[in-house]
């Protein structure tokens, strides 16, 4: 008999605010976190705007020396985990550390570190490259440093599947708890991709919006005038545990995680399957895993990147899975406010699903102004909506054709 698994703690560091409270109040007020890039001069780049985290100082959360040894994506993971552990009121002194694990998603890893050290190699030679290049850059170090910082000795791995990374992390952590391999898992995603090299790379792909003169309006999923995604950075981390473990310690329960579906298009490195077959199958598998009928779903936090192709194809996939019910359920893309956090997207959006269920409010898709005939669902345009959400799905789709859906449910005994 597999175990039930619940969410008991959350931590968020995002372009619309650091801390879950600020994150959530921004989302339900429809605040955009997109502005002109401030960490380097973006004048020569076709896309000059992004969702930067503006209210985060690493040393508020991490010892100064330790913080210097971490890339920004790792700092986000360690700090957000601290918030989630505090929120869960998990007393690590009383827990069996080897029964607490970590699975965190990251699509890229320490890009800033790699970029800085590549410059050092070119300008000053191999003898000046830092011994911390490798341990700071490797993408598993978010999960590794979280374990070191909090002494968590259970299963520890990093999921990497581009923009689906942290949905794979969340789903894998769920399965691991369900089969009893750990009592508690720290899971979610982290990413710090706003560096000259990665912004240039995504500009070259022509995947990002060039609406540089209207940053707040640039991320506009499902709107007919959308012209690409906007990069974001940050982390969304949750404490997930078996129901029995949560009950034994009298923990507050936000929601239950009930389903996980993971597929691949096996089609193209960056373009999605034109029919959205892989995305549709991910949703179907997650529903089957959860033992839910499509009609049970109240809300889908869409991948909804604001690229012309993604939003059209994801809509098609949703209609295929849900039939008539597709027009009754709510679909929104919080990327309209946060931008696209790439490998951290699923982590942040899992929090959105859990908070929607817990608070009975669905955050909007902002900048929805001009309907697109090919995107004809209820995207919760521009205004948050009160709704008793019993079941919420989170979709993440990534370069490489990765499609991942996780299903959350209101907790009922």
């Amino acid at each position: 008999m597999s175990k039930r698994v619940v969410i008991t703690g959350m931590g968020a560091i995002t372009p619309v605010g650091t801390g879950v409270e600020k994150f959530w109040s921004s989302l339900i007020s429809g605040v955009s976190g997109i502005d002109r890039i401030s960490t380097f001069d973006p004048s020569e780049y076709s896309t000059q705007i992004a969702g930067e985290v503006k209210d985060f100082t690493a040393t508020d959360y991490i010892d100064k020396k330790e913080a210097r040894r971490m890339d920004r994506f790792t700092q986000f993971a360690v700090a957000a985990t601290g918030m989630a552990l505090r929120d869960a009121e998990l007393d690590l002194e009383k827990e069996k550390r080897e029964r607490i694990g970590v699975i965190i998603g990251s699509g890229i890893g320490g890009m800033e570190t790699l970029w800085q050290q590549a410059k050092t190699l070119i300008n000053r030679g191999p003898g000046r490259v830092s011994p911390f290049l490798v341990p700071m850059m490797i993408a598993n170090m978010g999960a590794g440093q979280v374990a070191i910082s909090y002494g968590l000795q259970g299963p520890n791995v990093t999921a990497i599947s581009a923009c689906a990374s942290s949905n794979n992390a969340v789903g894998d952590a769920f399965k691991l708890l369900q089969r009893g391999d750990a009592d508690v898992m720290i899971t979610g995603g982290t990413e710090a991709p706003i560096t000259p090299l990665s912004v240039a790379g995504f500009c070259a792909l022509k995947a990002m919006s060039t609406r540089n003169d209207e940053p707040h309006k640039a991320s506009r999923p499902f709107d007919a005038q959308r012209d690409g995604f906007i990069m974001g950075e940050g982390a969304g981390i949750m404490v997930m545990e078996t129901l029995e473990h949560a009950q034994a310690r009298g923990a507050k329960i936000y929601a239950e995680i009930v389903g996980y579906g993971s597929t691949c298009d096996a089609y193209h490195i960056t373009a999605p399957d034109p029919e959205g077959n892989g995305a549709a199958r991910a949703m179907q598998i997650a529903l089957k895993d959860a033992g839910l009928q499509p009609e049970a779903v109240d809300y889908i936090n869409a991948h909804g990147t604001s690229t012309p192709l993604n939003d059209k194809i994801e809509t098609k996939a949703i209609k295929r899975v849900f039939g008539e019910h597709a027009r009754k359920l709510l679909v929104s893309s919080t990327k309209s406010m946060t931008g696209h956090l790439l490998g951290a997207a699923g982590g942040v959006e899992a929090l959105v699903c859990v908070l929607s269920i817990y608070n009975g409010i669905v955050p909007p898709t902002i900048n929805y102004e001009v309907p697109d005939p090919e995107c004809d669902l209820d995207y919760v345009p521009n205004q948050a909506r009160e709704k008793d959400v019993k079941v919420a799905l989170s979709n993440s789709l990534g370069f490489g054709g990765h499609n991942v859906t996780v299903a959350f449910k209101k907790y009922e005994e």
Binding site: D63, K65, R68, R128, S130, P131, F132, P135
Partner: protein, 77 residues
């Protein structure tokens, strides 16, 4: 000597995140200042850069205290 010590101290405070009063000529990098092997590699690089010199690995291995570093630098400048 005093001038070298001040410069070395500044680098140590920055890289190892320690307080100024912890750094004396007798402080051991590992035992007193909490450095691990990677910290020491990075520290040696920073000293090479600051004092414009090369410290061979076999010599770097002998540097255990702040005083050792200051002496090596003064002897080789």
């Amino acid at each position: 000597m005093a001038d070298t010590f001040e410069k070395v101290k500044e680098i140590i405070i920055d890289q190892l995140g320690v307080e100024e009063d912890q750094v004396t000529l007798n402080s051991s990098f590992v035992d007193d200042l909490g450095a691990d092997s990677l910290d020491i590699v990075e520290l040696v690089m920073a000293l090479e850069e600051e004092f414009d010199m090369q410290i061979p690995d076999e010599e770097a291995e002998k540097i255990r205290t702040v005083g050792d570093a200051v002496k090596y630098i003064n002897d080789h400048q």
